[in-house]
């Protein structure tokens, strides 16, 4: 049971880390999209 818990925690940590990176990347992407759009005078 203890080993199962350990595996679950490890997976949750890995998924949380990936999600954090993806969200961070999305924020950066949105920033550059905004800069590009305002520069295009749309």
């Amino acid at each position: 049971m203890k080993v199962e818990d350990e595996i679950i925690r490890k997976r949750q940590r890995e998924r949380a880390r990936i999600m954090a990176w993806l969200l961070g990347g999305f924020v950066v992407l949105l920033f550059f999209i905004t800069i590009a759009k305002t520069g295009m005078n749309w």
């Binding site: 595996i7 998924r15 999209i33 590009a36």
Partner: protein, 303 residues
């Protein structure tokens, strides 16, 4: 990492690598490439970040299609050797997780495309996802041997979407690129289905070799390769590309037709003796990559 075998792996939160596997990354590479080519040959140059975002959206939409396809076909995948190790049939992921992931990814890709590029491109992206999932996966694939003929339209959208993301409108050249992939899909998949037909038969999918037989499929491959070759050279004939593209398209298509003719005259019934089919399948992937590479080169290089 502990190597304990768990009694119920699906009770674990799925590994992030399994979510990546759901998106069928290898299929996605061709989709991304053709979408990128559609964007690059457009007469309007998008700012790099918007071009990158448009291609990212096409990739995410393709991933959503892969996830939703695997969510719907979990039982069929479990019966086929080729697909039995995927996350859902192998029991490494809850089915509901794949559905949520696919719908979320698809919705996100459409919204982002609309915000970053334009809403016509976003609409085409939404149509391509719905076409692949509802028309191809749910409706045609389990019902008719013509599934890949009509369903192939879903995979033909990316260059059109790439073009529309850049220009905001549809034109003749991207429609021809759509036609090339649409007509390329049946010979490509039928060549594959010939040497894995026992898998399709076991899963009850009415692919052409299962329903109409091996020889009929071989004739169909040659028959569909002819209009595909015509569509491939059409951009040059109509003056939409330069002579380099025309010459390369003619040469690449000629080799395709020769390989298709070899398949049509092959009489082997055992997959181990289907070298002609395997060669055509491998060449068909190279063909599409090469054709679109030349298209982009023809647009940019000062020949």
């Amino acid at each position: 990492m502990p190597t304990l075998e768990l009694t119920n792996p699906a009770a674990l939160p799925a590994d992030w690598r399994d979510f990546v596997a759901l998106t069928k990354p290898r299929v996605m590479s061709l989709v991304v490439f053709t979408g990128l080519c559609g964007l690059l040959v457009a007469p309007v140059q998008l700012p790099p970040v918007l071009g990158f975002t448009a291609i990212l959206c096409i990739a995410l939409a393709a991933g959503a299609c892969g996830a939703l396809n695997q969510w719907y076909e979990v039982e069929v995948d479990g019966k086929m050797q080729r697909t039995a190790k995927r996350p859902l049939p192998a029991g490494r992921m809850e089915r509901q997780s794949a559905l949520h992931f696919g719908v979320g990814l698809g919705g996100f890709s459409v919204l982002l495309m609309g915000l970053a590029a334009n809403w016509l491109a976003a609409t085409l992206l939404a149509v391509s996802i719905l076409f692949y999932v509802i028309v191809y996966t749910v409706w045609l694939k389990p019902r008719t041997a013509q599934n890949i003929v009509i369903g192939g339209a879903a995979g033909a959208f990316p260059p059109l979407i790439g073009w529309v993301a850049a220009t905001g409108h549809v034109a003749t050249l991207p429609l021809l690129l759509f036609a090339i992939i649409f007509l390329w899909t049946p010979p490509h998949f039928w060549a594959l289905s010939l040497f894995v037909r026992s898998d399709y038969a076991a899963a009850g999918i009415p692919m052409l070799p299962v329903v109409a037989g091996v020889q009929s499929t071989r004739r169909h491959i040659l028959l569909y390769s002819l209009p595909m070759a015509a569509a491939a050279v059409a951009p040059w004939v109509l003056g939409l590309t330069g002579p380099i593209y025309g010459a390369c398209a003619a040469l690449l298509s000629f080799v395709f037709l020769v390989l298709a003719a070899r398949v049509a005259t092959n009489r082997a019934t055992e997959p181990s003796a289907m070298d002609a089919e395997k060669h055509l399948f491998a060449y068909s992937v190279f063909y599409l990559f090469a054709l679109f590479t030349v298209l982009v080169a023809d647009r940019f290089l000062p020949w």
